[in-house]
Amino acid sequence: MISIARISTTLSGVTAAVGQLTSRISAGATGMVFIYSLLPLIFICSLFFGRYEVSPQHVLQILAAPVTDLVPGNLIQIEHTWTAAEENVIYQIRLPRLVAAVLVGAGLSIAGAAYQGLFKNPLVSPDILGVASGAGFGAALAILLSWNMAMIQVSAFCFGILAVTITYLLSRFYRTTPTLILVLSGIIVAAFFTALISLTKYVADPYEKLPAITFWLMGSLASVRYSDLLMVIPFFLIATGILLLIRWRINLLAVGDDEARALGIDTKRMGQVIILCSTLITASAVCIAGIIGWVGLVVPHLGRMLVGPDYTRLLPACLLLGACYMLIIDDLARMLTNAEIPLGILTAIVGAPFFAYLLSRKSVGWI
């Protein structure tokens, strides 16, 4: 059934989609080309920005150095005119941070788009089943118990998964419309864990733990390290890869459960796969970047406006747009003030008016 060639083609989701799309003329084709060129551009540009001034020339040289070093013989040689501090800033601070922004933005957007299809509801965001509140509580608890950084992340991740598991099991108790009841269970579980977060804050030491919990929850990429990235990258890649692979079939879910089953889709199994993947992505995102809202809600709409509702094009578009959006927001977070503005605040303050603007355009389609 599943040709290996096909898998490997699709695995590199982006490339595959580019190939498919540029080869046929469609309504969204120009939109896609636009999006594809955007990400590398913004990524490179973002490397030049930061409070620590590194001249553009140095940035390029620093980036090129490891490559040219590989070239055998001293054919190409870049003179090391930059300082160790500059190299440190580029490789240890900017690069991991930008990679994290790409992962988080792309992951949350894809998870959001997949959920909107699964729940047939364009107002759903990836934390609808309680993963963010769960992860938030996990982190808060870990901070309260003075666990170390790695443990905080692990705890956030695990509680995120736990919350979604509870939601899912809770929804199994009822025999009615599965998606509605799933959303309802999500609301309940999220509220419960949010209350637990409040409880943690309440019992937390206001000098020591409370600010830590509060700021952790606000979200930031300021102190992302390679080790953090390594921890979550496997989850991101696998979950995003699976969602990209089954993306055409999400279309069928979005049309309706019964119809999808009549078209040969095992909707229950597929729902589980989507929930699992989205949860892994969101939990990973929360655990390296804190609670970041709006991306998973706004970006899929933006994507739909550019390339239409077909998930074959929508998911790659969301991946790219989400990454770009997050890079820009993070650039803002770094550049606006000497200090850092928490990402969770910026995404909402930028995202909410942006969403309002999107809605005012007729092209949203579903409204």
Partner: protein, 283 residues
Amino acid sequence: MILDVNQAGFRYDSVRMIFSGISFSLGEQEVLCILGPNGIGKSTLIRCLANLYPLCAGSIRLHDRDIRSLNYRDVARVIGYVPQAHEITFPFSVREFVLMGRAPHLGLFASPGKEDRTKADEAIGLVGIQKITDKPVNEISGGEYQLAMIARALAQEPEVLLLDEPTSHLDFGNQIRVLEIIDRLARDGLSVIMSSHFPDHAFLTSNNVAIMQHGSFMAYGLAEEVVTETNLKATYGVDVSITYSHDVERHVCVPHRSGQCRCRDPKQPEYSPKMAAMVPAMR
């Protein structure tokens, strides 16, 4: 026989059996029309046949294999299901929508290819909605949506088509058009099961008619034999005339006018000149 139903029974809850003891077989090119009062279980039966609900009693055999032993995909390759029209959230284009019918023929990780696209376009051509292929499905009329759903089911290349009230909400012309498409499809080799509220439709397309009443088939057989004045009176509680019309060369089924239909009352004004003045010239 493609589909064999044997003593089928179903319940939603433990309280009440919706239907039980239903048996019939569906042959190639056969069109079976299911009639019956509101809420008797026509839609439920069709959903059971589409493998959406599992039976509580009896069995459905598809090509001599129990439907319960097949997965969704296997069933979807043989049976196409067209539910009653409903609202759709995302504005897929009609082409994307019809293309979804290719799902049972594609691998888990595959997207539809060129061949699938051709087949979808053929299905669109068959039902005659080429003009709206690029329109979003939530901006087309109810009739067009019904046709798009039929096209999707055809893209599925099934052997059996299940249609739930395919003519409801359609205007008179679209009703006839859908029935004609069903007729043509059956002639081309498809078997069809459809539910309807119009006994007259049975005469238009079907070879066999089943009347559902009290949780099972009250009558089952050839249209002319089953759609009788007695049976309809028993099913719907109203008086109906079944006569052979030479104009249309078939039996027709017309309800009796109620006792003293006021509209033909001679006391009523017949056609006031004032009204006539407002009406455009009759064509």
